[in-house]
């Protein structure tokens, strides 16, 4: 291989794209040719410069969580009751039930469209936290360790309480991603049941915890306290979960 033949193949050589025969020919040429050797060195140098770790942009954890949450929401669609199929049921129902049904429908229809999405995301986050060994960023039963952990990680101070005395020990916290923002997640335990509490700043007035919905066997409780939007989710029964949230909201 002479220099004329070697030059157009230098990049392919550096990229490991030459077949064996031509690679051997190239390795025969290089020691005899300072110009090609220099070009190879420069290409390798450039390659090293481009492969510096700090130039690589791995996916942020929040993006990963958000993608998973959306996929989970897609994979487990809540069947939306078709208006007309509900309507056809009406004649078969008693008057009282019709009233209930109408009220339920009104509530469902009046809910902001983001509600469905949000509760689906909460369920997904909860399920992921159960699968991924609780996915705790800070493991501690001490509220004085968990609370400061959020300093500088979120732009608000989530209320952190240990409710061990009430039978709901704190086990840790993590950052999560809900509703297009980073939120604080606190994890509590009741016997074998895991409770996730999600908190982020909101603009609503204080409201008492109430059962918002049941999705995929999980109870979701929603309330507002001290400028925070709060959600608790668990497979724990609604009564005890409400008891927990009332203790938390105190």
């Amino acid at each position: 291989m002479n220099c004329e033949q070697a030059r157009p193949l230098l990049a392919a050589y550096v990229d490991g794209e030459l077949d064996t025969v031509r690679m051997l020919e190239m390795e025969g040429h290089l020691p005899a040719c300072p110009a090609c050797t220099r070009a190879v060195r420069e290409l390798q140098q450039l390659q090293q410069s481009l492969r510096q770790e700090s130039l690589y942009h791995p996916a942020p954890a929040a993006l990963r969580r958000n993608v998973l949450a959306e996929l989970s929401a897609q994979a487990r669609p809540e069947p939306k009751p078709a208006f007309w199929s509900w309507f056809r049921l009406v004649p078969a129902l008693s008057g009282a039930m019709v009233v209930c049904l109408a009220a339920l429908l009104a509530v469902t229809l009046n809910r902001p469209s983001g509600h469905e999405q949000l509760t689906a995301e909460i369920v997904s986050s909860h399920i992921r936290s159960l699968m991924a060994n609780h996915a705790l960023d800070v493991v501690s039963t001490d509220q004085h360790t968990v609370k400061p952990w959020f300093n500088g990680r979120v732009d608000f101070a989530p209320p952190v309480k240990d409710l061990a005395a009430q039978g709901f020990p704190l086990i840790g916290g993590r950052l999560d991603y809900l509703h297009h923002r980073t939120v604080a997640a606190l994890v509590f335990q009741r016997n074998k049941h895991i409770i996730n509490v999600f908190l982020w700043p909101g603009s609503e007035k204080n409201s008492a915890p109430s059962l918002d919905s049941v999705r995929q066997g999980f109870n979701l409780i929603h309330w507002n306290q001290g400028g925070m939007t709060c959600w608790a989710i668990s497979d724990l029964n609604p009564t005890e979960l409400l008891e927990f949230t009332r203790d938390f909201a105190l």
Binding site: P8, L10, A12, Q45, L46, R51, Y56, V67, S72
Partner: protein
Amino acid sequence: MEARERLPAFEQTVLPHLDAAHNLARWLAGNDQDAQDVVQEACLRAFKFFGGFRGDNPRAWLLAIVRNTFYTWLRQNRPAIPTVELDDAALEVADPAAAGEALQTRQADAETVRRAIAALPVEFREIIVLREMEAMSYKDIAILADLPIGTVMSRLARARKLLQKQLAREYQTGGPS
């Protein structure tokens, strides 16, 4: 296959390449928010089409979707920034040995390299990311970007030359020393 059944397989096969997806989107879009929007949208598309995925290179498959999503996004959101129409045939023949400039022979610092890559036209940038950061083969890049292999090679050569010139210039004009 139901979406519910597809998810675990998708998580195992495709999501391990989320870093590569984000890296490509981040270099193409140039900022965090747009990159995340593109990746999010690309993942949803990928999930939708995952049932039809039969290949043995899920990373290239995902990156192809990220790339398509990015260009769709670019047309919809940044119509004022047209992509450069490249006349690949007109590109000079790659001949790095003929470069007369004093090319630097040591590793350039990350910030300088970052600026040099960011200054490349997007069609060159993507080839650099795919080849140098993801170490993809010419063939995989050709399939992914739907280009002939010859075009991949000429764009890569051109992109490298531009980078080398840019870095040499930075280091000569009192850039980082």
